[in-house]
Amino acid sequence: MGCDPPGPAEDEALGAAAAAAAGAAGREGGGEEGEERARGGAEAGGCYLALCARPVHFEKANPVNCVFFDEANKQVFAVRSGGATGVVVKGLEDRNPISFRMEDKGEVKCIKFSLGNKILAVQRTLKSVDFLNFIPDSPQLEYTQECKTKNANILGFCWTSSTEIVFITDQGIEFYQVLPEKRSLKLLKNQSINVNWYMYCPESSVILLSTTVLGNVLQPFYFKSGTMAKLSKFEIELPAAPKSSKLSLSERDIAMATIYGQLYVLYLRHHSRTSNSTGAEVVLYHLPREGSCKKTHILKLNRTGKFALNVVDNLVVVHHQDTETSVIFDIKLKGEFDGSTTIHQFVLPPRSIQPYQIPVAGPASVTSQAPVPCKLYSSSWIVFQPDIIISASEGYLWSLQVKLEPVVNLLLDKGKLMDFLLQRKECKMVILSVCSQMLSEPERGSLSVIATVFDKLNNEYKKYLEAEQSYTMVVETGLSRSNPLLKRPVRTQAVIDQSDMYTHVLSVFTEKKEAPHKFTIAVLMEYIRSLNQFQIAVQHYLYELVIKTLVQHNLFYMLHQFLQYHVLSDSKPLACLLLSLESIYPPAHQLSLDMLKRLSTANDEIVEVLLSKHQVLAALRFIRGIGGHDSISARKFLDAAKQAEDEMLFYTIFRFFEQRNQRLRGNPSFTPGEHCEEHVTFFKQVFGEHALMKPTTF
């Protein structure tokens, strides 16, 4: 769909379209409004869709003001009196409106800026498009380009970059390069083909043309930096064999959107009385850059009437005007696979978009009016891809948003809930709150549910860690230069790591102490089990949490068993923690020493532990066993031996160092640097001067 409204040529401006169009995709039957309407409101609780809080407000369409919407730049153009009294351009992203005037050269059919607002293109006739430079210091005069194909009518145009434009005529497409300095266009490529209507997806730079008499053969073209590629055409299966040879596929029933990074053509297939389907459905055709387009997914709507489509956060949103509700589909969730396509039911029960109050007019207004409730699902709404809703009659442009908090209470299967949440952009805090919720009353989950949730989180976490790891490896080995496409993996909100779980969920949960300790420990072990299952190294603070909880409940035997089977992995901090437990649980000493031994990098710590327990001989034997006895401090050992108040022990240690001195320096006496004078004096006092070792000379 080009510059705005749905219909072909005659209804181009929003002002005119507003009265009739229910949405970009689909209308069926008449406008029976009334009793059906009431439903949406009744189910207001748990609205998971909302209009953005800061919409773009524009002057509503009226006979002198024409309104246009450009999907590529997401800009609304308000053109007063053909531009003579002003054009105001407002966008969702760029908050500062652009205003200018242009000469009124007739009714504007279509108006769009090139990317970056460099050049303005205005279509006023069926044969040509006018251009106006917005580049500083470039010629300001308008210039015109007529379409090359004789007798062809221009259906519309699309900018594919800041200086490249495609004209779509009823007889083909023409791809131009605009040369603003020369105020002229250069034809890059053209292609003849009969066109019923066209549609442009700016995100993927793909133009889709409806060809053949029935209109159901779609020909996609892909544009990239001056080149145009023809992709393989495909046919949309129509619900019933058309009776006559007239256009049977309307552009209102087709949308294009990128879902999970892939381009899809969405076809709204209406319920046909002849087939026994239970309602309308949305058929998704996957359009790969290479290869042929395939029908991959069917979204069951289970209802009939007027529909409109949006794609938000990789979810397909289907609005239903009759019931004033919307449903969402997630093609990544499990569906029913029939061998070629996956059939999906909507994820959540139908709900209305959250009630919306039209904000009181800007700060300039002095009168403080009460906010006016906005009419949702109004017949004047027009829906654009991927997430735009415009109310032409009220002059608002919104982006549609998915709210995750209400989903939590609507999707009771926690596994499915996690699958859903993990694919959403802003999911982290919601996921963490779900985790907290399932651990505490009144909605405490069973251990198997908790395990499932942990596994799903860690699966995502692991994927990220792996990507990060292989990226680092490539960078380190210097292979990155040969692969310029390599990018650092993006950490999405779905990556919930141990620190997140610890801070927001597990530490809070264990501190609350409302759950029986058996459950608390089971939950912690389940999380550790899950991390291990995904081969993720468990952080020390989680072990600390386990130990703290076990100690609080005097479950030392349990702790002992966990350590025995190395469920709590070895680390110096953990060994120190165990040492600190010795006074309340003596075996912790042994466990700690074992751990230090296994670490093999903690020999100094082992010596310290032994010395602190006055096991001086044991410490000396240990250090000798690992061959470190030539570099140890004699003073440290002699101090410990003296504190042990065991004269024989002191003698032994003293003699050991005398022998070391003899061996290393050829003299048994201590050097001043060793600071052992005090010990030498003590030795003499107790054993007599003659007991000192005599230097042996050879």
């Binding site: 089971a522 389940e526 089990r529 291990n532 002992h560 068993q561 992995s569 074992d594 096991q615 240990f622």
Partner: protein
């Protein structure tokens, strides 16, 4: 070996130590003269004449009383005489258990007449004291404390319980084959990797959650413990019961049944995943009895009375030992079978795989290079390459009893001091026995090499420590 030894002795014949008598008394129950019989709560053999019983009890009382004057807190533990040895144990205040064991005898023939030579120094005090203590622990496991029985139904109740329990239990004491392992009364742990262990943890937690009458669970495989939710002391004695009494009793009919075409003893059990070693025999029979033995745990503290459920997978070997707070019903058993059975199958294959990996790594399929016994007082972990597989009756040591006695002696030496020690003994015919004590761990190694010296023996033991115990802190 023992057979060979006996053969070599030619005319000599060795008579193993036997139980002479076993009695339990409480001096406070018959303090007055003429009422002495009231003190006696249990006496084996029961046929002994009343006055002799009274006399023997009185003698023990006197010895304990007499030795108390020298050591008020630690009265005599045993009394050595030429023909026998008496062991005293006071498990609860004023309740005394006494076991009298006849010393082993060598029967010689002199001038055609048999001459008996009592071997006064053969029995090890620590071994038989431990056996006596275990008698009490085992009683307490199934009956609760003596005091509790008195509170429940007076002396009469206590006497009944003692009679009922010890009448059978004493027959299972195999005094001739008691050794160091009885002193340790340790637990053999099944070596397992972290992940499989965590899976088992997770399985147990979930099972306890869905079967909420289950209070504690123990998980065993191949007679080895993997997890115990029970406290250490309770698990220690329960482990002994399971591995030396319950499992072997059920193992034999099953092994026998493998060859016979019809497994008569468990009809209809084939559509189930496992079977109950305690409780119902046949889950399909609604009339089947659903009685589980009661056990008493945490008797010093919360004093819990529980029902012991032992469930076993049919083919591989995991045992699940659960304890329930209320009597389990047949319906419960069916639920357990259906919930636990399939998961246990998955776990069993995980464990089995792990078991085979371990076997390959350690090369355990070969005859172990070293004969050793390891024990850790902290977690009661026990490992012996000296003992053959436990049979229902006894666990047999594969070395000469004299060597076992040396081990026992070293152990006694160790228990006298707190410090780390190492003792190396040169035994007969090229045997060396090494005992090492490091913190709370003890290791006993038996080496048999010709012409080695002390240093070489020490090196050998170091090698063993480096290969078998490299992941623990064991001083050289």
């Amino acid at each position: 070996l023992r057979m060979a030894a006996a053969g070599a002795a030619g005319q000599e014949k060795q008579l193993a130590p036997t139980l002479l008598s076993f009695f339990i008394y409480n001096p406070k129950l018959g303090p007055k003269e003429g009422e002495e019989e009231k003190k006696i709560l249990f006496y084996h053999p029961n046929e002994v004449e009343k006055n002799e019983k009274i006399r023997n009890v009185g003698l023990c009382e006197a010895i304990v009383q007499f030795t108390r004057t020298f050591s008020p807190t630690k009265p005599a533990k045993s009394l050595h005489t030429q023909k026998n040895r008496q062991f005293f144990h006071e498990p609860e205040e004023n309740f005394w258990m006494v076991m009298v064991v006849r010393n082993p005898i060598i029967e010689k023939h002199k001038d055609g007449k048999p001459v008996y030579e009592y071997q006064e120094e053969e029995l090890l005090d620590k071994v038989y004291s431990s056996v006596l203590q275990q008698c009490y622990s085992m009683y307490k496991l199934f009956n609760g404390t003596f005091l509790r029985a008195m509170e429940d139904g007076g002396v009469k109740m206590l006497k009944e319980r003692l009679e009922k329990f010890f009448h059978r239990y004493l027959q299972t004491l195999h005094l001739q084959s008691c050794d160091l392992l009885d002193v340790f009364c340790g637990i053999s742990f099944f070596p397992l990797d972290k992940m499989t262990y965590l899976k088992i943890q997770s399985f147990i937690n979930r099972m306890e959650e869905s079967l909420n009458i289950v209070k504690y669970t123990a998980f065993l495989y191949n007679d080895q413990l993997i997890w115990s939710g029970l406290e250490q002391d309770d698990m220690r004695i329960l482990y002994k019961y399971l591995t030396t009494s319950l499992f072997p009793r059920h193992m034999e009919p099953e092994l026998a049944g493998r060859d016979s075409p019809i497994r008569a003893e468990m009809p209809g059990n084939l559509q189930h995943y496992g079977r109950f070693l305690t409780g119902p025999l046949n889950l399909n029979d609604p009339e089947t009895k659903c009685r589980f033995p009661k056990i008493f745990v945490n008797t010093d503290d919360t004093y819990e009375e529980l029902h012991l459920i032992v469930y076993k997978r049919i083919s591989p070997l995991p045992f699940l030992c659960l304890t329930a707070s209320i009597p389990p019903t047949l319906e419960f058993c069916r639920k357990l079978d259906s919930i636990v059975g399939p998961q246990l199958t998955v776990l069993a294959s995980d464990i089995c795989e792990q078991y085979n990996i371990n076997k390959r790594i350690s090369g355990a399929e070969k005859e172990p290079q070293f004969k050793f016994i390891y024990f850790n007082h902290m977690n009661l972990a026990e490992k012996s390459t000296i003992h053959m597989r436990k049979t229902p009756s006894v666990s047999l040591a594969s070395v000469h009893p004299d060597l076992m006695k040396i081990l026992g002696d070293i152990n006694s030496d160790f228990s006298r001091v707190d410090e780390d020690e190492e003792i190396i003994v040169k035994a007969m015919s090229d045997y060396w026995v090494v005992g090492k004590k490091s913190d709370q761990r003890e290791l006993y190694v038996i080496l048999n090499q010709k012409n080695v010296n002390l240093i070489e023996v020490n090196e050998e033991v170091k090698k063993l420590c480096a290969t078998q115990f490299n992941n623990i802190f064991f001083l050289d």
